[in-house]
Symmetry: C2
Subunit: 102 residues, 2 copies
């Protein structure tokens, strides 16, 4: 599913020495999103606003802050993360995602 | 400089085990481009169509196929590569780019 009529910031966002790279884009109504990839690794991401991670490819396990269990996700799945929180992600196969904020 | 009114493919393109990551996008007239990042590394890219690499950040040296000399580039610079050719790139500081094809 492509995102039409968006404004793309061509300067990449590089996190964790390149294990996560994303591009910020804005919908026509100004809503900010990011499209990115997380390479095979185990990382912890913090959140400010709540986030919905929409996965487009790959395979990973995710554990939300305070949770005991890890949940597996693949391309086509989504998961939600509360704001002012964090999640651990263990990526087995590079994950392409779109992050929806708020 | 942001790219307005584009269509973004959210599935990332991952090259050289993640040392280069890009997203393909299309202008309103259907012209294909990609926005990406090359992490600190020394890589060789092949070209099919001619390419113009527009750098948005970072620092690198580039040697076109058949050339003896390396040329230094930084954010704000562009360089052109003939089609059906290749270029070597030595990235000192992660380079954000937009690739224009044709």
């Amino acid at each position: 599913m492509a995102y039409e009529n968006v404004t793309l910031d061509p300067t990449a966002n590089v996190y964790f020495d390149g294990r996560c790279v994303s591009h910020t884009f804005f919908l026509a109504d100004g809503t900010r999103k990011s499209a990115g990839v997380i390479l095979p690794s185990e990382l912890t991401f913090g959140t400010a606003a709540p986030e919905v991670m929409e996965l487009h490819s790959g395979a990973c396990r995710v554990r939300l802050a305070g949770a005991d269990v890890w949940t597996s996700y693949a391309g086509g799945d989504t998961f939600s993360v509360p704001g002012d929180s964090s999640f651990e992600i263990a990526v087995a196969e590079a994950v392409s995602y779109v992050c929806h904020y708020g």
